[in-house]
Symmetry: C2
Subunit: 310 residues, 2 copies
């Protein structure tokens, strides 16, 4: 009944007699590591804690259904704080038709801890694993890469009243939008062979998909949907697109023969889909920087949750 | 598909097409609140974090199946610590045939946080809620009450090399044993009308069952299976049985006409079952102390996870 354990975006379970598979995922957010209270409102934290888990469900091509929350709170967090936290969380849950079904609340001596577990349900018996890719598959990403990291840099510098693109970057960091609809569309159409969500940056998450699929990968720098506006305030859009975490976009591997159909049929109502490279028979992940010369290895410099910190 | 949300030991879900119901529960343990690192070995913490969740599954009359773990660790916890933590957890999981299916590991700036979510499966469509009791039902508990709290008091006083009963009390605190087998037996035989696990002490958890069932309750002090040995080191066994947390025994309401059959058939291989009182039409929870005079109100002085601390 256990179809896929640790090592994908979510575990896969088959309840006896059920047609659909169930997927389950859990993520932890800790104050000082994943967020700072000084620039995160309770609603945003509630939203974000659920969003990062919904993103894992999206990357399995599954529908979120139920979630539980374990919340450790310092004694200075009052009733109003908790109410606002749950408002942010349940508002996002409602939009994705996911129901809060349980939780645990505990006093904490140091900082806020939020751990969320989401249960999702597959379309029929169809889930998309990281391991389904094959050499020659084309790689696509949803949305824009490096926007959330650009927002985080601004928050860390304490810059709040800033230009519209800066505000958009900050919003991308504080209100990440899980790509559930895109994940379901790609799965329902049968074009997603392998999928992962970009939580730790492309340079960390692409090697995970490639290794699981038994392939290497190559991406083209000039094809990446970078957040160019961050260059205006001195950031490096390409570096943020490669190494910035918290984008929660989907990276998907598609058979090359499905690419034309995908590009023709992908709905404009979903976040834009950009072809960025391909899976290769040669192991390792490389990037073509378009400066002449061949592609060079892409060092994994993204966010590592155990080493990293805000 | 959601049968029971927040407010019972676990939420109840019915996957489309499945015969069995699924139950899901989550619990958080925080350093300094739920345990101290100075007297908790990593194996014990791993065991305990899973045990408290298995206990919730037991109280639903369900079988544990899968679990996920979110672990926040200070940087001074090394690989060896993590390995030992998982050894303690998976050893308990194996005994109850529950599989670890996913997790998240994060650095923590302050203290250890462990949040576990367990998925369980019902026997057929049969789960036992807190709310199924009726006035006149008899109340039973498994095991001994106040033993874990007696052990905690010894740990807090720094007493380690102590008498056999003191060592038993400390073991009860550090290695709580979820009553999954008893919960399943009581459910399979159809005698459990309402059930709850005693995590916060009888004086906190009995009112929860009674309120959910729309009844009051009365217990007899001289019937409680107290841990009498704690009197030897100056503790009050009755107070610990009423107000001590972390026993993880089951409290179950049984139709009075089922009592004789239950007492005749309950297997000696399971932890002992003791009749301690009954549910009453009169609201509120009372205790008969056997000093003459009628029963008096039982004040809820057990552990409240949001106010409390180790």
């Amino acid at each position: 009944m256990l179809r896929q354990g640790i090592g994908d975006d979510a575990a896969v379970i088959r309840p006896r007699g059920a047609v659909e598979l169930w997927v389950v995922t859990t993520d932890l957010l800790l104050e000082g590591i994943d967020f700072r209270r000084s620039w995160t409102r309770p609603e945003q934290l509630g939203h974000r804690a659920l969003a990062v888990n919904l993103s894992d469900i999206a990357a399995m091509g599954a529908r979120p259904r139920f979630y539980t929350v374990a919340l450790g709170l310092p004694r200075d967090c009052r009733r109003g704080w908790i109410d606002r936290f749950y408002q942010g969380m349940t508002a996002l849950g409602r939009r994705h038709r996911a129901h809060l079904v349980g939780g645990d609340l505990s006093a904490s001596q140091h900082g806020i801890h939020v751990s969320v577990t989401v249960l999702g349900e597959s379309l029929a018996r169809n889930v998309v694993l990281r391991s389904g890719g094959r050499a020659g598959d084309l790689l696509y990403v949803t949305g824009t890469l490096g926007k959330s990291a650009a927002g985080l840099e601004l928050l860390e510098r304490g810059r709040r009243r800033v230009s519209p693109p800066a505000r958009a970057a900050i919003a991308a960091h504080l209100w990440p939008e899980p790509r559930c609809d895109a994940g379901l569309w790609l799965t329902r159409r049968g074009v997603a062979r392998a999928m992962i969500d970009l939580s730790d940056g492309l340079s960390m998450d692409l090697p995970r998909l490639a290794r699981a699929s038994g392939t290497g990968a190559e991406v083209a720098a000039d094809r990446l949907p970078v957040f160019a506006a961050s260059g205006r305030w001195g950031a490096d859009p390409l570096r943020l697109a490669l190494d910035g975490g918290d984008d929660y976009e989907l990276l998907v591997a598609v058979r090359s023969r499905d690419a034309a159909r995908l590009e023709a049929e992908y709905p404009t109502s979903l976040p834009p889909l950009t072809r960025i490279g391909r899976l290769t028979a040669q192991a390792g992940v490389r990037i073509a920087r378009g400066r002449g010369g061949g592609p060079s290895p892409l060092p994994p410099r993204g966010h590592d949750h155990f080493r990293g910190g805000v």
